[in-house]
């Protein structure tokens, strides 16, 4: 049976369909639930093999990126999500989903305004680092995918950064130019279990070769899809 992937959207999440397509391509069966539905029907979270918090501008980010959505998740679904992780099941937060998860107890650090001062849409290459993170473990090749964010500068207290490094929790780093001023070129971090990953770039927007901007130059890069297939194969194998 294919793993069930639950995408939890807040009002203003907007890459929910993109990530649903990526999950399908990666061999999972995705379902999109609005936050109210996930709160009202506990079986949605409890039956999910994988949970994704998608990109977008939840609650218009009016109190800061991901802040209000993070409060909803922490105060209304916090126990259910922690329970999900305790049962060995992964959670992925992409872009606004990452910004949301750092507002909860699930991920460390914070995401500030890009050091350039404005939103930026561009392509990046990511080095998979963590061998603990279920999404990046075993990957060696750089992953290509776009970024599209205004608040993607990863910030963490220096002492905690040392711990993250020591614990193999740096999941992804930008190769080459650092697009937003993130400390240590960090593009994604995972929690201490390796099950919860937050990342700013959008692997869900590079799941077929022709989505690459240099496709017509004959470019074949490592798909963002790899991250999804990597995690899903481990869920399926479990």
């Amino acid at each position: 049976m294919q793993p069930l992937a639950l995408i939890i959207s807040g009002p203003g999440s907007n890459r929910d369909n993109d990530v649903a397509f990526a999950l399908t391509r990666a061999g999972a069966t995705p379902a999109i639930a609005l936050i109210e539905e996930a709160v009202n029907d506990a079986s949605l979270v409890s039956s999910a093999d994988l949970i994704v918090i998608p990109g977008g501008f939840s609650f218009a980010d009016a109190l800061g990126a991901g802040r209000l959505f993070g409060m909803h998740l922490e105060l209304r679904l916090g126990d259910a999500l922690r329970n999900h992780v305790e049962r060995g099941r992964p959670i992925l937060g992409i872009c606004n989903g990452f910004q949301t998860l750092v507002r909860t107890s699930l991920l460390p650090g914070s995401l500030g305004h890009n050091n350039g001062g404005s939103f930026i849409c561009d392509w990046t290459q990511l080095v998979p680092v963590s061998q603990k993170c279920i999404f990046t473990a075993g990957l060696t090749e750089e992953i290509h995918c776009p970024i599209a964010h205004g608040e993607g500068r990863y910030v963490v207290a220096p002492s905690e950064l040392v711990v993250l490094e020591a614990n193999d929790q740096i999941a992804l780093r930008y190769a080459g130019d650092n697009p937003n001023g993130s400390v240590g070129n960090i593009a994604g971090v995972c929690d201490s279990t390796g099950l919860v990953l937050g990342m700013m770039p959008h692997p869900e927007n590079y799941v077929v070769p022709r989505q690459h901007p240099r496709h017509f130059r004959g470019h074949v890069g490592n798909l963002g899809l790899t991250l999804f297939t990597n995690a899903i194969s481990q869920i399926s194998g479990a």
Partner: protein
């Protein structure tokens, strides 16, 4: 009033936004600002207990990112200044709304909150300059209030008493002069003949019109809604009658009779079908006047409005946005900014941020566009916003409204924002417009519109008709839907953002993010369920009656009762006179260019603001979302070179669509007819260049012009429409929708009128039959040939080479090329057959600029060995139409030349060495090209 409790949240460490802000102060001249620090400001008017303050700090101030502090006072140390800027009472405050939701989750209430920004400014700044800094850069009086060096006080939120009774306006016995007085006092912007038609109508009824009836007529009959000029009976200077302009465009489309057109020139958008399973809705709009006085809000709601047009076209789901922006020079001397207008830099910052904010948040890729600079746009910036939507081809057509259907308002609540926008945008602006028209600016809320899209996309079968609330608000939306049946509406039911709105304000408000649908009573519960699920507010405000009368009540009291027939068909046709232009079409005298260094000129062209890279703007827009971008607005090895058209396709689909833009006001100044032809050709050429099928192209026309009541301005419009029609007919590309924005004029305090140049934007949307066969503009391999298809003539009128030389080159603007349609068909065959490695259309700056852009994109050099014209400078810089440069491999060259029937001329070869040799003695290197294209003129900063 006492200063309220304030919470300031200040970013820690280097703050890119504040740096950008400091850079933007240069638009004001040297006023002595050393640094600016922006903080978020929240005012708690009812105070807060200490315990709640601590909880809020924990929630709102992330210790990794910002410091937060509650206070009643602000401590400053001279030469430090501070400024508080907050939204006016009544303006939608999303931060306050979100804060209330957050505190509700936490289980307490923070009472009345308003939010804004707090600026700490260091420097020796005199009071006058400090005030200029605030009015021109930090705040906008239209939506905000501020205080300088004093903590901002609470605003008296007491609202004036509301008149809910109808006032009768005495017009039936009025003299002509008195009618004009009513017209002016009420800002109706009606023509004399229209005033008289209204007077006659009410004379026949034997009663005076009520104020709401008069306002509704003024909105419905406004230039903005009724397109009076495009429907007018026009005679030229010789007394010859000219077919009404809209008729000409429709006739042109009818004559082309393209099989893919489903619906043209009716409803909110044009509808076409390029594939068996899906239809596309296409629309482009202007939002010029609002963007001039409140750039962020104007552009923001321009995007929101055109997206709703697509939703209003049989509920198509939006899939992509476009925009074309025209600004004054970004480096304009601040002393030259006209009274009552903003500096172009400020306008550009606000407009780009407004477009990015709406498109990015609503979750649509902003994929195609153009940015133009000219001093003529200083007081009249132009903002064109476009949207494309798709729907299943087998979606049942909407056949309503039917008698008995309910009138349903969906989405945002109604406030005092954007009142009288239709009539406002139909008038001329002057130094006082910003103050007078304050209420005309709408405030955007993309998330509410996103929810509306999701709700409408879920069920198509629950409503029988749909339209958006745009200019004129409910008066236009319900008025249009009720045209055949009539309706009875109760304004008390309309949900309001805050109390205190007079009924006329509810009826005319252009508050954003609202749609009106007709819904059968039995389907209402199901529709409500869908809306509840998505958090969309649904309100039943009345019924489509079948009486043929539009009746509006407030608390049961009748405020308006009109025959819909008079409202929609009672307007007398406008009679207008046009002075047709007689352009100089003689070829330019080549000597006018004089002796020039072609390498240096090429670099200056690449650095010209109109041709320099727009990457810093384009990257502010998300063009990756939905995963459909195949050819992006930027391309090449480093993803920073310009594309021609863009291509969108679902990730697994074989076919896609291409979008191309054509615009060139500079040709229009001297020859509006050939300008229009050139602009249509450019839009089509752009989509052909990426691989679209030239026999499946649909066009959108958008005209931004000056006051058409001036005969020569109307003459230029008539000539442009003629050019539009000949070009479209030649290419077999029909118009499916259009929009005109006239009266783009500014009345200076010197009494001079400043008009925009004739600005026609053509958007081409075309079928790409095979996405994998698409080509981009960047060169691929050394050793390939550069082949031009087309012909080069000495056409330098309105050209950019003339601009950079500062030369008055009088000659002809580029003329139509009768061979273009067949050329594009053959080129398309060659592209589909895989014969073309890269392709770039030749436009502003001519072959010299096009070849440099191709080289830059590929990181390769070019050696031009042949000129496209006997005179080398003409060959390089002429802007003759309908030409493209193709990169062809040696093994494909013969077949390409055969396929294009000898239309192609080999101009040179691609080289591995990073040099572009333009003529045997003139070589520039890629580094210089890069520096010119991405250097000083390309934007380094945008607030």
């Amino acid at each position: 009033m006492a200063a309220p409790l304030r919470l300031t949240l200040t970013p820690l460490g280097a703050d890119g936004h504040s740096t950008t802000l400091l850079h933007d102060t240069t638009a004001l001249g040297h006023i002595g600002v050393w640094s600016i620090q922006e903080s978020r400001l929240l005012l708690f008017h009812d105070g807060l207990p200490q315990s709640v303050q601590s909880v809020l700090l924990g929630v709102l101030a992330d210790p990794l990112l910002e410091t937060g502090a509650f206070s009643h006072e602000v401590a400053v140390r001279p030469p430090q200044h501070f400024v508080d800027v907050v939204l006016h009472a009544g303006v939608t405050d999303p931060t306050a709304i979100a804060l209330h939701e957050a505190t509700r989750l936490l289980g307490f209430d923070v009472g009345h909150v308003s939010t804004g920004r707090h600026y700490t400014i260091d420097g020796h700044i005199d009071p006058t300059n400090l005030s200029r800094l605030v009015t021109q850069l930090l705040g906008n009086p239209v939506i905000e209030r501020w205080s300088i060096n004093t903590p901002i006080a609470a605003q008296d939120a007491t609202l004036g008493a509301v008149t809910t009774e109808a006032e009768f306006v005495a017009i039936i016995d009025a003299s002509f002069d008195d009618l004009e007085l009513v017209n002016k006092q009420r800002s109706l912007h009606l023509d004399p003949a229209e005033l008289q038609a209204i007077q006659s109508h009410y004379r026949a009824l034997g009663r005076e019109p009520r104020d709401l009836e008069l306002e509704t007529l003024a909105q419905t009959w406004s230039e903005h809604c009724a397109h009076k000029t495009f429907r007018a009976a026009i005679t030229d200077q010789h007394g010859k009658a000219i077919t009404p302009l809209l008729r000409q465009l429709r006739d042109c489309t009818d004559a082309i009779n393209a099989p893919f057109v489903i619906s043209s020139f009716v409803g909110n958008a044009g509808i076409v079908q390029f594939s068996p399973h899906r239809t596309l809705a296409l629309k482009a709009e202007t939002h010029n006047h609002p963007s001039a006085i409140e750039p962020f809000g104007g552009a923001n709601t321009g995007v929101g409005g055109v997206i709703r047009d697509i939703l209003g076209a049989n509920a198509h789901r939006p899939i992509a946005c476009t925009n074309i922006l025209c600004f004054g020079p970004a480096d304009l001397d601040p002393a030259l900014v006209p009274d009552g207008t903003l500096h172009p830099l400020r306008i550009r910052s606000g407009v780009v941020a407004g477009i990015a904010d709406y498109g990015n948040k609503i979750g649509l890729p902003t994929v195609a566009g153009a940015v133009l600079y000219d001093s003529a746009y200083t007081a009249n910036p132009l903002v064109f916003a476009g949207c494309i939507g798709e729907a299943a081809a087998d979606a049942p057509p909407l056949t309503g409204p039917h008698i008995g259907d309910r009138v349903i308002v969906l989405g945002g609540r109604t406030g005092r924002d954007g009142i009288r926008g239709a009539t406002f945008s139909s008038g001329t602006m002057d130094a006082t417009t910003g103050e007078v028209a304050g209420a005309s600016v709408q405030i955007g809320d993309p998330i509410t519109e996103k929810l509306l899209i999701d709700a409408l996309a879920e069920r198509h079968d629950l409503f029988t008709a749909i339209t958006d609330c745009g200019a004129g608000g409910l008066s236009s939306a319900i008025g249009e839907m009720a045209e055949l049946l009539g309706a009875d509406v109760e304004l008390m039911r309309v949900p309001l953002k805050y109390p205190g709105l007079a009924p006329w304000e509810v009826w005319l408000s252009e508050a954003q993010e609202r749609m009106v649908v007709a819904c059968a009573s039995h389907a209402l519960a199901a529709l409500k369920q869908v809306c509840d699920r998505h958090g969309v507010e649904l309100t039943d405000v009345g019924e489509f009656t079948g009486t043929g009368r539009l009746v509006v009540r407030h608390n049961g009291v009748e405020l308006l009762d009109m025959e819909t027939a008079f409202l929609h068909d009672g307007r007398p046709q406008r009679y207008m006179t046009a002075e047709l232009p007689s352009p100089n079409r003689a070829s330019a005298n080549v000597d006018e260019l004089g002796a020039i260094d072609v390498g240096a000129i090429t670099l200056r062209l690449l650095a010209h603001p109109n041709l320099a890279s727009k990457a810093n703007i384009i990257r502010r827009y998300d063009h990756e979302i939905l995963g459909t971008s195949v050819v992006r607005p930027l391309t090449g090895i480093d993803g920073n070179s310009p594309s021609d058209g863009v291509v969108l396709a679902r990730p697994l689909a074989q076919t896609g669509i291409a979008i191309g833009i054509g615009v060139n006001p500079w040709y229009g100044i001297t020859d509006p007819e050939f300008m229009a032809h050139a602009v249509v050709d450019e839009a089509i050429r752009s989509v052909v260049a990426v691989g679209a099928d030239p026999s499946q192209v649909a066009l959108l026309d958008n005209f931004s012009w000056g006051d058409p009541r001036r005969p020569e301005t109307l003459g230029a419009l008539v000539a442009a429409v003629a050019g539009c029609c000949t070009a479209a007919s030649a290419h077999g590309a029909p118009y499916v929708s259009g929009k005109d924005s006239l009266n783009n004029e500014y009345l200076g305090t010197d009494g001079q009128r400043h008009s925009v140049p004739p600005t026609l934007v053509i958007t081409a949307v075309a079928c790409v039959p095979s996405v994998e066969s698409c080509v981009t503009t960047d060169l691929k391999s050394a050793g390939n040939f550069i082949v031009m298809v087309g012909r080069t003539l000495p056409e330098l009128g309105g050209s950019h080479v003339a601009k950079v030389l500062g030369a008055t080159v009088n000659g002809a603007v580029p003329s139509p090329d009768a061979d273009a349609p067949v050329r594009y068909q053959r080129l398309h065959q060659a592209i589909r057959s895989g014969l073309v490695a890269s392709c770039h259309d030749v436009a502003e700056g001519g072959i010299a600029v096009a070849v440099c852009e191709m080289a830059l994109g590929g990181g390769l050099g070019v050696e031009l060995t042949h000129t496209s014209h006997a005179d080398a400078a003409i060959g390089l810089f002429s802007e003759s139409q309908s030409r493209l440069l193709c990169e062809i491999s040696p093994q494909n060259l013969d077949l390409f030349l055969t396929t294009t029937h000898g239309d192609g001329v080999v101009l040179g070869t691609v080289t591995a060495e990073p040099f572009v040799t333009l003529t045997p003695g003139s070589t520039i290197n890629l580094e210089e090209i890069h520096e010119a294209h991405h250097g000083a003129s390309a934007m380094k900063s945008l607030a």
